[in-house]
């Protein structure tokens, strides 16, 4: 092959783009041709010079950091960020559930304690030889009796045309708070109605309850005008509820 055709392939040779057999032939020619050898030398030197001079611009550390954050932030924010949020949400949900359950459980225990106390008061009073301090079936006698004894007032329902009769009333205490205890009778069943300031029970009872069974007593509790009422007795739930409705009617 003549020199001219080799010279046309000098770049291919320098850039390693020749096929291996052609490369060997070129090598052989260069060793025997001073002119082509000189061109190769210049070519190699030029290439190396460009390689060295070409590495000229280096990014600042600040810019590198910024770019790393940019490249890293976008995809990771959606993936691990999402996972992180999910995990946090899960932990939060678990925490809320645990707290709620334990709160509900604790509140339930405290509510049960109040019911037990109310039941105790009811039973103890009935067991007493003098269950009431004011013996009267007249609500206009019983109500004024509480004046000055308890820090609140209330109205007693009119019992005419009802099966209920008022036996009397007495002062009582629940959790160191003074309250009213009224005893009604219904077909030989004694029903106690307790009235306490709502605050004394520290909002332990959220609202009104329907009749529930506590220690086999029927109990209903409700709140009106800042007062917490309990009606408890061994009468049927429907009877307890009827008395409760009468109280609610006169103490809106």
């Amino acid at each position: 092959m003549v020199c001219e055709s080799w010279k046309g392939k000098l770049d291919l040779y320098l850039d390693g783009e020749m096929k291996s057999d052609e490369m060997r032939a070129f090598d052989a020619h260069v060793r025997s041709c001073p002119s082509c050898a000189a061109d190769v030398l210049v070519g190699v030197q030029m290439k190396r010079a460009v390689q060295m001079a070409g590495k000229r611009f280096a990014p600042s550390a600040e810019f590198r950091k910024r770019m790393q954050q940019q490249v890293r932030a976008k995809p990771r924010r959606s993936s691990s960020g999402f996972a992180w949020m999910t995990a946090t949400a899960m932990v939060a949900i678990v925490a809320v559930v645990v707290l709620t359950v334990s709160y509900i459980g604790r509140e339930r225990v405290r509510t049960q304690q109040v019911y037990s106390e109310v039941a105790d008061l009811h039973v103890a009073t009935l067991a007493s030889s003098s269950p009431v301090d004011v013996v009267s079936s007249d609500r206009h006698t019983v109500k004024p009796w509480f004046q000055g004894k308890i820090p609140f007032t209330f109205d007693l329902p009119e019992l005419q045309n009802s099966e209920f009769s008022l036996l009397g009333g007495r002062m009582t205490y629940l959790e160191q708070t003074a309250g009213a205890h009224l005893i009604y009778e219904l077909r030989k069943h004694r029903i106690s109605v307790f009235i306490f300031p709502d605050g004394a029970l520290q909002g332990r009872f959220g609202g009104d309850s329907s009749v529930t069974k506590e220690l086999s007593f029927s109990v209903e509790t409700w709140s009106r005008g800042g007062l917490r009422y309990f009606a408890i007795g061994d009468a049927g739930g429907a009877d307890i509820d009827r008395l409760a409705k009468m109280f609610k009617a006169v103490n809106p």
């Binding site: 770049d11 783009e17 460009v50």
Partner: protein, 179 residues
């Protein structure tokens, strides 16, 4: 199953793209001749690449793809348009041959302190000569990669590279004679 796939792609983008950061910045520096513009160019390149990464076909040349984005971004920038406007489009074929006979610049090239002269000579080359020379000699891309990056046939890569080298040699000789 879609989200993990996207995440995997995003992770591999960082793994693929960040090792090219220094080279791309250097290339951007040569194109723009300005630190701020080079930073903007690289930043825009990465943003575009990240957005378009889902359309990038794995198995094809990622480096060429990144350089192509950078180069196309540059060419459509104000600096890029100015740079290409000053070069005749048919310069591929124009003579602009520099005499390679006579004094060869090898003595100059051996001297390391002459690096600045070489840099200036590269700098003076038209953009399309400058970039192909850098891709070939600095980035050590194969002709095939260069063809992909510049979106030109391999034949054009060879002819343009040859002219770029002649141009560089001519400028170095000029500098030798004048300096």
């Amino acid at each position: 199953m879609r989200v993990p796939l996207l995440d995997a792609q995003s992770d591999s983008f960082e793994e693929l793209a960040m090792p090219l950061f220094d080279q791309l910045y250097n290339f951007a520096g040569w194109l723009t001749q300005n630190r701020e513009e080079a930073e903007d160019l690289v930043q825009e390149t990465y943003a575009k690449a990240l957005r378009g990464f889902s359309s990038f076909q794995l198995g094809t040349n990622f480096r060429a793809w990144m350089y192509r984005i950078l180069r196309n971004t540059f060419l459509t920038s104000r600096t890029g348009l100015r740079a290409t406007m000053t070069v005749p489009l048919d310069s591929e074929e124009d003579g602009a041959d520099f005499a390679v006979e006579g004094a060869t610049p090898e003595t100059l090239l051996i001297d390391r302190s002459s690096q600045e002269l070489v840099q200036r000579a590269i700098q003076e080359l038209p953009v399309h000569f400058r970039e192909i020379l850098l891709l070939c000699d600095v980035e050590e891309m194969s002709y095939q990669e260069i063809a992909e990056t510049l979106s030109i046939p391999i034949g054009t890569v060879m002819s343009r590279l040859s002219r770029a080298r002649k141009g560089l040699r001519g400028r170095l000789q000029e500098q030798l004679q004048t300096g």
